[in-house]
Amino acid sequence: MIDSIPALMVVLPLMAGVITVFTGKGDKPWAWATAITGIVFAMSIALLAEVTAHGPVTYNFGNWPSQYGIAYTIDAMNGFVLFVVSLIAAVTTYYSRLSVKDEIPNDRLHIFYALWLLTICGLLGITITGDTFNVYVLLEISSLTLYALIAMGYRRDRRALTASLRYVILGSVGASFLLLGIGYLMMITGTLNMVDMHDRLQVLIHNDEYSRTIMVAYAFLLVGLSLKLALFPLHMWLPNAYTYAPSAVTGLVAATATKVAVYMTIRFLFGIFGRDFSFGAVESSDVLLTCAGLGVLYTGIQAARQNNVKSVLAWSSLGQIGYIVIGFSLNNENGLTGSVVHILNHALIKGGMFLALGCVAYRLGGTRLTHLKGLGRKMPWTMAAFTAGGLGLIGFPLTGGFIGKWYIGLGALDAGNWLILVVIMLGSLLAVIYVFRVVYAIYFGEAEPDSVHATEAPASMVVCTWILIGMSLVCGLWSEWSVDLAANAAKAMLAGFGGAH
């Protein structure tokens, strides 16, 4: 059974998601989903341990040779991302019971959790697969279910519907660009397997054949991926989708969906096209650094202007994505290590903060800045978690957020790019502003009449919030393990396709 873990990582949530439809009413769908995500998390740890100890693992579906069939390949890079995604999935699923009951019509709970598990299945599948077309298929699975999950926030705020529709349109554009890019690549290499595609592309690039087709494929893929990971200025679908989705969904999506898109980008840029092409023949560094750098500044300013705290965090997510993009665009080991470790730390921080806001929404029915005023005394644990997460967003030393920024900063120094270093500093300064604007309201604001009687959120929700925030603090204090894993991943990606030959 151990050998089958790569298949089960995707098949288990897929089958379980479908079975959820039959689980009935009440807490049963939730209990089922929690059990499944727990098992998936355990499997991801086993897989990561295996990959770290013995190198890449390949699994061939139907025992077809990987050239013909679909192969799942796990190396240091996607093993790490799988761990992050399934960790967040397990915690947010356990957290979601009360929050979802509160926000979703209760006769739809089985549908909600079916979609929930299918989203997780899609996200894990994108990460684990070694087949480019499979990436597209699972991307569609995760996106389509995600659109529906976001739209389910309509009971609290009908703007969830327009937010979801905007995401549908832009997400579909992104997905079709990806499909076109993959199609062009298949046309000239004759394979969909990532390892083979990488090898054949290197030969073609070296011989200067089909250079225009490769360029077009690259352009389609880069734009499609940028849309999916919400790189400024292709970010417009994200803020409202995060703001109006149900609280638990926001927690899951914010921590995983864009991270998986970042992983895809790193995989395509380094693992398939190869860094010599992506950052040599095509100067994507300049484009990506400009977009991400401007994005960090612009989204920081936007975050400071929002009145809904969920929006503040959504805009801040865009800025953090900017840092991650800066990290890998620097095209050196420190930068890439910073990106990968920031995938983990930002997932923990932002997931935890959105869960904290979910607690607020559960008690007060909203997350506007006025709702949070004076909550520091009413909901001390939740607000302490929020504040600790906020320090992480700023990149305060000893928090998880600091580690990623530190390595990205080192990467910028290695690349001799002082301007980017300044952008990172300014971005942190903006983060100080938007975080402390909220924290000030929490601890020094006068409670509004509505929230005078608010009490601490239920223990299960607060504990889950603290698991994520606590882990981000642990990752800040004892950063060796996560940085080691990230550095392994970065080395594998810089070397090409993770050495999976």
Binding site: A7, L8, V11, M15, V18, V21, Y59, F61, N63
Partner: protein, 151 residues
């Protein structure tokens, strides 16, 4: 939506056609692994029989012939059939969807089987899984569209 029950030609003709459409749908699914077609195409053809019935006799009649709850259940069942075949192969000791293990191979048997006996079962079951899901999802989409039109 006004249905077309008073149109004698339509009614009689669709009653004659529907059994043939269904048989053709099953043929396309079953024959999919050897010729053009397969679960997806066959499923759409099957669904077209139901949708024709719904168009001509009205959605209430369709709901009687194919109750929405059953249809939605079958949509989930199709996916389970597909992934269940895969999981069965996994439990029997092969890789996921390795059809050779559907009928547990005898000691020292050549894999894949030279006569293809186990592989045929795998392909047929998977095609039917796809077919059932595609057909029922198409019917569900039709049901939803007509619901909106009346609201």
């Amino acid at each position: 939506m006004k249905n077309m029950e008073d149109q004698v030609v339509l009614r009689v003709f669709s009653k004659i056609m529907i059994p043939f459409i269904i048989i053709f749908g099953f043929y396309v699914i079953t024959h999919g692994e050897l010729g053009p077609g397969g679960g997806f195409q066959g499923g759409v053809i099957l669904a077209s029989a139901f949708i024709l019935y719904g168009l001509v006799f009205g959605k209430d009649q369709l709901a009687e012939a194919a109750p929405p709850r059953v249809v939605e259940g079958l949509a989930a069942f199709g996916v389970l059939l597909y992934s269940g075949v895969g999981a069965w192969c996994l439990l029997a000791g092969g890789n996921f969807l390795d059809y050779s293990y559907i009928i547990p191979p005898a000691e020292g048997a050549v894999i894949p089987h030279l006569d293809g006996g186990a592989e045929i079962w795998g392909m047929i079951l998977v095609e039917y899984g796809v077919g059932i899901t595609v057909c029922t999802v198409m019917i569900t989409v039709y049901n939803m569209i007509t619901e909106e039109a009346e609201a």
